[in-house]
């Protein structure tokens, strides 16, 4: 009975403490400023939605780094409309069920005017209706899947879409590398792959290349000998592979085993060192496109500066796509607020939508009338000596429907 009482007291103390802290604590932002409503206070609050723990933490942490860098740069230059930018951070622990509460909290407790996030498409889709209903601008710095900006006129994203990148890459493959006959490989249980295949099919048709062979694989497959044998018979100029790096690496191994010297091209689903860890020499020369590559030598001036600053703060590590897009997201929001001369989301959402050819650190950004972003350029990387090296920087154009 005594033990019981001790436990009860212990737990109630913990709970009360947690409750008190939960209710009493002011938004835990970077500057730790007071919790007035954004419109009345002297700070502009921008929320970060993403994971700092759990399986998606690496995306979230990088995005937040970029956002904090942007806020620092803006505040050093005097802030926006005379107010400091404050990043309100949150963490949903990579869990869908917590994401809604996190977003709701930032909107109703911290009174953010805009939220940057989530890096994943799924959680962006969950948060977007909440932002739309509460009239808070949401700018995702990572969502690439379909059906995001369609949710409402407060919803944006600053990522390179496959529908923009793949046609540009296809044009290069067909016209510059002479891929007139192409084998197209799809992983049928992978939504990303199925979607990307559709985009490539259209792009290949537009560029008058023929698909001489279509092969289906599944994520998790290990043996591709049957598919590769069929590809051999059709004798293509190159292979377009829309799946992930694991299958990509193994697939190329089989291609080399059967004595073909073909090269493979694919989307950023293959952007991982695992590609050559599994594929070894077989993936040398394979090409992968991505929206951002840290290339200190050939980058645009603003990107160069960003890379330098990022390296200074992060032990010389090169920034990735998420930190660059997080940086651009905050900069885009700040610019829209300046243009609208207001931090009212219902006003600056319109100026944000008019963003045209903005020179961001992750590339040039234009929002189409349907709020979908068009980013330029796309980086085509090539595996060279078991490393990704930039093969070609390709300018993109708005998708034609």
């Amino acid at each position: 009975m005594k033990k019981f009482r001790v436990a009860i007291i212990l737990i109630s103390v913990l709970l009360v403490a947690a409750l008190a802290a939960g209710c009493g604590s002011k938004p835990s932002g970077q500057s730790g400023a007071g919790g007035n409503a954004a419109s009345g206070g002297d700070t502009i609050k921008i929320g970060f939605m993403g994971a700092l723990t759990g399986s998606e933490a690496s995306y979230g942490i990088e995005t937040l780094k970029g956002m904090n860098m942007a806020a620092g740069d803006l505040n050093k230059a005097g802030g926006v409309l005379g107010k400091k930018i404050e990043i309100v951070q949150s963490d949903h622990g990579s869990q869908l069920s917590q994401a809604a509460a996190v977003v709701q909290k930032m909107i109703s407790q911290n009174h953010v005017v805009a939220i940057v996030g989530d890096p994943t498409t799924g959680k962006t889709k969950l948060a977007a209706p909440i932002c739309q209903q509460n009239k808070v601008v949401m700018l995702s710095a990572g969502a690439v899947g379909p059906g995001v900006v369609e949710i409402g006129d407060y919803i944006f994203r600053d990522t390179l879409l496959d529908s923009v990148a793949a046609p540009a890459v296809t044009k290069y493959l067909v016209n510059d590398l002479g891929w007139k006959k192409v084998a197209l490989v799809t992983s049928t249980n992978n939504d990303y792959s199925v979607g990307l295949t559709k985009i490539f099919e259209k792009a290949l048709a537009d560029n008058k290349a023929t698909i001489v062979d279509r092969e289906s694989i599944q994520d998790g497959d290990k043996d591709f000998s049957a598919q590769v044998t069929k590809i051999k018979q059709s004798n293509p100029d190159g292979i377009i592979f829309t799946g992930y790096y694991t299958e990509g690496g193994l697939f190329m191994k089989e291609v080399r085993r059967q004595g073909m010297n073909l090269k493979m091209a694919g989307g950023d689903g293959m952007l991982s060192p695992v590609l050559w860890k599994l594929g070894g020499q077989a993936v040398e020369g394979s090409m992968v496109y991505t929206g951002f590559a840290a290339d200190p030598a050939n980058a645009a001036p603003q990107t160069k500066e960003f890379i330098k600053k990022y390296q200074a703060a992060n032990d010389n590590k090169l920034p990735d796509m998420f930190s660059a897009q997080g940086y651009d997201a905050v900069m885009l929001l700040a610019r829209a607020m300046k243009d609208a001369n207001s931090i009212d989301p219902s006003k600056f959402k319109d100026t944000l939508a008019q963003t045209k050819d903005y020179k961001g650190v992750s590339g040039n950004i234009t929002f189409l009338p349907n709020r979908e972003p068009v980013k330029s350029p796309v980086y085509l990387l090539e595996v060279k000596n078991q490393q990704f090296a930039i093969k070609k920087v390709i300018p993109t154009a708005a998708p034609t429907e």
Binding site: K3, F4, V6, A7, L10, I11, L14, L15, A18, L19, A21, G22, S25, S28, L52, T53, S90, D91, G93, Q95, L96, S97, Q98, A100, A101, Q104, K105, I107, S108, Q109, T121, G122, K125, L126, P129, I130, Q133, G145, P146, G147, I151, N189, N190, D191
Partner: protein, 294 residues
């Protein structure tokens, strides 16, 4: 009604409270299966997802009213619960646990590959029909139903099966019949809970209903005290609110949450309210008062 509520309670707290209510419904369902009837289930999230997807597809694609869809979600989950229960409840203990775990994975994989559920991309644009009032009403209904069952002939039969199945059989209780009924009924509540979940989050993804989620719900019940209705409610409330209000400690949040669980199991292995009979406590207090009065 909604506006009146919005003025009274911060939307964030409202969101958290709704989540607690939704989990309470699911936990009470599992409490019926595991707590009252003693059948281990590691697949409760699967029934939650069946209810969630059924109701969501009905309101989203067929534009049916919400409350009937909640019941439909519950019924669909109950149907699958009965179908699974018939072969699987012949197993006992760990074996049953593993069979239900397997079923949970099957459901998740099926939802990932079905077209109507949106596959791995998930199901978005579900109308937001869940509100604090309808969640509260269903929580009250569930609690009432559970306490009614607890003290009924049915509830006593389940308790007999839990304590000793062979003895129960020898007393003329058709154990299989009662076990399947309890399983289906527990799944019915999980399905309803899932329906509310879907219409609160407005987005469903199969990856959200993995083994971890099943385990969460089992945690609620075990921490609260197996077989105790107030226990399941308190356990759910504590374990849902703790991670939410521990947000201020950021990265240490889940560590404290884990420590809380460990402490609990050391000090109260039967759960917070396990083995606590409120009626008996009240009676004893009254007796004491009477003695003191004399």
């Amino acid at each position: 009604m909604e506006n009146w509520l919005a003025g009274l309670i911060n939307p964030y707290y409202e969101q958290v409270l709704m989540m607690v209510g939704i989990y309470i419904i699911a936990a009470l369902g599992l409490n019926l299966i595991t707590g009252m009837c003693g059948q281990l289930s590691f697949g409760h999230a699967a029934f939650l997802s069946i209810g969630a997807y059924t109701a969501a597809i009905m309101t989203r694609n067929l534009h049916l009213p919400f409350i009937p869809c909640v019941f439909a979600g519950g019924l669909m989950a109950a149907l699958f619960g009965a179908l699974l229960g018939l072969p699987v409840l012949k197993l006992t203990g760990d074996y049953l646990g593993i069979a239900t775990l397997g079923f949970g994975e099957i459901v998740r994989v099926v939802f990932t590959n079905l077209k109507i559920t949106g596959g791995a991309i998930g199901l978005a644009a579900i109308p937001r029909d869940t509100n604090l009032i309808n969640v509260l009403v269903f929580v009250v209904l569930t609690v009432w139903a559970m306490s009614y069952l607890h003290n009924s002939r049915f509830g006593r039969a389940l308790a007999a099966i839990r304590e000793d199945e062979i003895a129960a059989e020898s007393m003329g209780i058709n154990a299989m019949f009662y076990k399947v009924q309890a399983f289906a009924l527990g799944c019915f509540f999980a399905g309803m809970s899932g329906a509310f979940y879907a219409h609160l989050l407005q987005y469903l993804n199969p990856s959200d209903f993995g083994f971890a989620r099943s385990f969460d719900i089992l945690n609620f019940v075990v921490l609260g005290g197996l077989g105790s209705i107030p226990g399941a409610i308190v356990g759910t409330a504590v374990l849902t609110l703790a991670p939410e209000f521990l947000r201020f400690v950021a990265q240490y949040r889940m560590m404290i949450y884990g420590a809380l669980l460990v402490l609990m199991m050391i000090f109260r292995p039967n759960g917070l309210l396990g083995g606590v009979d409120f009626r008996r406590l009240l009676r004893r207090r009254r007796q004491k008062a009477a003695v003191a009065g004399n």
